[in-house]
Symmetry: C2
Subunit: 549 residues, 2 copies
């Protein structure tokens, strides 16, 4: 069969690999004096950033790190972490961004599984690691990070303190070229069952994600988010999907950056105000906390643009934020997807709509970004129509998705069954290509041949005036496959019975919002809804209890 014309290898000698070091070229060129700020502690320029990355590379190699080694970081969101985002992959090592919210046992598991060689660790996380240090199988040494004059004393093998080591290191490192498919970063994602699984990203993937993120974030019709005049502050942690990859994009564009350290709501709001932050990304719960602070009441938020992800943006939260002058957007992705798959896309006409109608568009998870293929598939892997009605599993292809799970090819094959990455989320796609996430696939209720979103049903039940919270799961049913079952928490002093809840839902059947199969078989009134350790509703536990109960 005829083949496209490729280049003889000799002529191709000058194509060159996509490496993270190239992301560091333009920012310092555009804005050498632009600042990178660490909370209310310190500030330096992009010129300094470059020099510090070169010095850090010397510190790492002096500590014995070789290409192919893995370097773990346990830190708050700091400019130090940004330096690690560059220096560690740039010397050919793998950056392991350790999830510091895991238990010591889980941290131990991930550090052994990733085969960490060197650990950069902040004072605050020493106890976590000291507790399990005798079980660390591959770690040869530590570099200490501190926000005080001197680091805490530790019995771990320490090469010294980060700033002191940087100060002594040479300011110029010769960063090598190598294969763009070299692994640059890894981190672990936790499910409700089993051990954390490691995702990993190559230099090529991170460069491509950065380029697409930059074009996407600059494309918002209202205001591009990464210009010389913008100020960026992350409010999702740097250990989690590289703070959604935005630090790489912001650095490439030479944008002013503010790193908050730990996420204390009043501090975050103070930094927003002091530095006139124009762009952040955030999850709904943190956004809710920020909006409840004292400090925010006196803030001018009219230039603050916030990209929400992680879970669905509730309409009420979006409305409240909009009323405060904040421009709200949503994106969709996950650890496995690097993460960017979709983002809000408002057209000029949308911006003319009254705020409440804009909210409807802003809370949906947006349109797939350039270079990403996003479809919904039925259980047999067939693509479903983009009619806003059909629901299927969200699957994706794009040049920056994790290729597998680290040392777990079986789970990797499951993830990529049929050549598409399976997100485990259920959604519909509207005719204008907007993705609307409905549920986790394991929580969706398959009843009467239809898929019923447990989240949709919970929202409807919550609209009953007596209801404080609701959780809906599917229970096996011989005739229907599954039938919904609801757990309901009532507001203090209110009362309602199962019939009241069902007749409330019958109203939505009558007006065509849901069909009659959606009315729960059973309604239980409970004091609390079972939650997982990270605060998500534990539907697996609810199903188990109800099935056995």
């Amino acid at each position: 069969m005829a083949q496209p014309k490729t280049l003889p290898a000799a002529e191709n000698a000058h194509s060159y690999p996509l490496l993270i070091k190239q992301l560091l070229l333009s920012g310092p060129r555009y804005n050498p004096d632009q600042e990178i700020i660490y909370a209310n502690r310190s500030r330096y320029t992009y010129t300094d950033l470059v020099e510090r990355i070169h010095r850090l590379a010397h510190v790492l190699t002096d500590a014995g790190v070789k290409p192919g080694d893995t370097v773990a970081v346990l830190d708050w969101d700091t400019p130090r972490y940004l330096e690690c985002f560059f220096a560690i992959p740039m010397i050919g090592a793998v950056l392991h961004t350790v999830n510091v919210r895991l238990s010591p046992e889980q941290i131990l598991y991930t550090m052994n599984h990733a085969e960490d060689d060197l650990v950069l660790i902040h004072d605050d996380f020493l106890p976590l690691v000291e507790e399990v240090s005798d079980q660390l199988e591959t770690v040869k040494g530590h570099i200490q990070l501190t926000d005080n004059d001197a680091p805490k004393k530790t019995q771990l093998h320490s090469h010294g303190e980060y700033e002191a080591l940087l100060a002594k290191a040479k300011p110029c490192f010769e960063f090598p070229d190598f294969d763009e498919n070299a692994i640059a970063t890894t981190f672990y994602t936790t499910g409700t069952t089993g051990n954390p699984k490691g995702v990993f990203f190559t230099h090529r993937q991170l460069v491509l994600h950065t380029l697409v993120a930059t074009g996407t974030l600059s494309h918002f019709d209202e205001q591009p988010l990464l210009r010389s005049s913008d100020v960026y502050m992350p409010i999702t942690p740097m250990f989690h999907v590289h703070a959604w990859g935005v630090p790489y994009a912001a650095t490439m564009m030479g944008v002013k950056q503010v790193y908050p350290g730990r996420y204390e709501p009043e501090l975050l709001v103070e930094l927003l105000k002091t530095h006139n932050v124009t762009f952040s990304h955030c999850v709904p719960t943190i956004m809710q906390m920020l909006m409840g602070t004292e400090g925010i009441k006196t803030a001018d938020l009219s230039n603050w643009h916030v990209l929400i992800g992680g879970s669905a943006l509730p309409k009420g939260l979006c409305d409240a934020a909009t009323k405060m002058g904040i421009s709200m957007y949503t994106g969709y992705g996950m650890s496995e997807t690097g993460p960017l798959l979709t983002a809000t896309h408002l057209k000029p006409a949308d911006l003319e709509l009254p705020p409440e109608q804009q909210t409807e568009k802003r809370i949906k998870t947006g349109v797939p970004v350039p270079m990403a293929e996003v479809e919904i598939h039925d259980e047999d892997g067939n693509p479903l129509p983009k009619d806003g009605v059909a629901q299927g599993e969200v699957v994706a292809r794009a040049p920056w998705l994790t290729a597998s799970y680290l040392k777990n090819p079986e789970k990797g094959e499951e993830l990529w069954a049929g050549g598409w990455l399976h997100t485990g989320d259920v959604a519909s796609i509207e005719p204008d290509n907007t993705l609307v996430i409905k549920d986790r696939i394991k929580d969706v209720i398959k009843t009467g041949g239809e898929w019923l979103s447990s989240l949709d049903l919970e929202n409807l039940i919550s609209q009953h005036p007596a209801v404080a919270a609701a959780a809906v799961v599917g229970l096996p049913d011989d005739k229907w496959g599954e039938r919904p079952h609801a757990l309901v928490v009532l507001n203090p002093g209110e009362s309602a019975d199962a019939e009241a809840i069902k007749s409330h839902l019958q109203g939505f059947v009558d007006n065509g919002t849901i069909n009659k199969w959606a009315i729960p078989q059973g309604v239980d009134f409970v004091e609390d809804i079972p939650k997982t350790s990270v605060g998500k509703v534990n539907k697996k536990l609810i199903r188990d209890q109800l099935s056995n109960g």
Copy 2:
């Protein structure tokens, strides 16, 4: 030696190649009803564009085009050409964008050299090809393009007319995946000597150029240039470096596009006005022509942003355009570089400056774009400082530069001597990373151990009130290496002698603008300055005549 960690091949199965078809995903998703307009002839939507590209793929394969074949296009700037930008590479064939301004002999040379298999040809260019058709060695057939009801009669072997063939073709084509290093496009660049040389770009390179161009064009602090609300019209031809790659970027972002057909100044201005064009790219001579039209006097140009390239933007032209409300930017690149290497980068503080001071920044060729390395090197290949003083040859590395010349590896090795692409331009780089082009390296005058820009000297001579035009070349000199020699054209009715010109220049020596070696050894008064066929000063001819004279 230790190596960075790469993926086992099995785990890497899901990384996927960068292909031009991916650039077509997002535009139609963002704005399916967005329009693509052909002058005052026709318009259709992005949804139509996708269908037409699929139909064109069937037309091409029905005409016998196989992966690896080359398809030539001779057309004005039309939506048809945009369809060819996608469909031809997307089936694995190579798009040869034929320079229709070349002579029939040169066109013949390029079509034989590129080994064109199929030719898409507009009525207006039939005579060019018919004249040499018996010498075309590889062409097997033609598809005719017309702007009338029926195409012109021709004795060339014709498969039929483009629109008629599209109408009959199936609307859905299965575009294959293949190696991202497959050649997607080729075109020829002409020098003052020798045959045209073919540059070529792969799918990977065009995707990367598009991603970087999108980020760059969206990054302008004044106004991003590729938003949903923008309207793009190219004013540099699509056969030349893919109209600087902007049609790919505009399509990826779903921007409204206006294709003007041929470049008639009054028509261009009419289209600007009718469609409220917000972004164009242009060379200075065409810009000058547009500003001289009747139509432009009644145009509101306050939303028009123009990126100037191809040759230096004269200060006077930039000032005049700014006074008309136009936002002027400059970029730098060449056929070999795909083309984007640098672009104007104005910071918020720059935008506060009065217009005349902004002009100083806008006429310089800007700062290197993300992912591009741009340096100036001395004759031994050593990098020179970015001090605004040192002058050297501009050399570049970036992931989208031509790897060589087509079937001309010797010239390719020259181009890439020492691992850097040699532009043949001389420049300085200012401390803020702005590139300032001084001259072509073959025209620069090496005198007294210093490099003297012939362009700078011509500008100074032109400031003498009696002088209409000047050309300066270097002639060999035993003591100084070279000494400048000037040809001067006087204004009608004016007179001046060599001493007058020299004493005019002495003023610039006295105020430190130039040093004394810059004063020409000889000054000749002539009626006309010799030009090349494309209107550039023919310095090679001048040097030859003076050396032999």
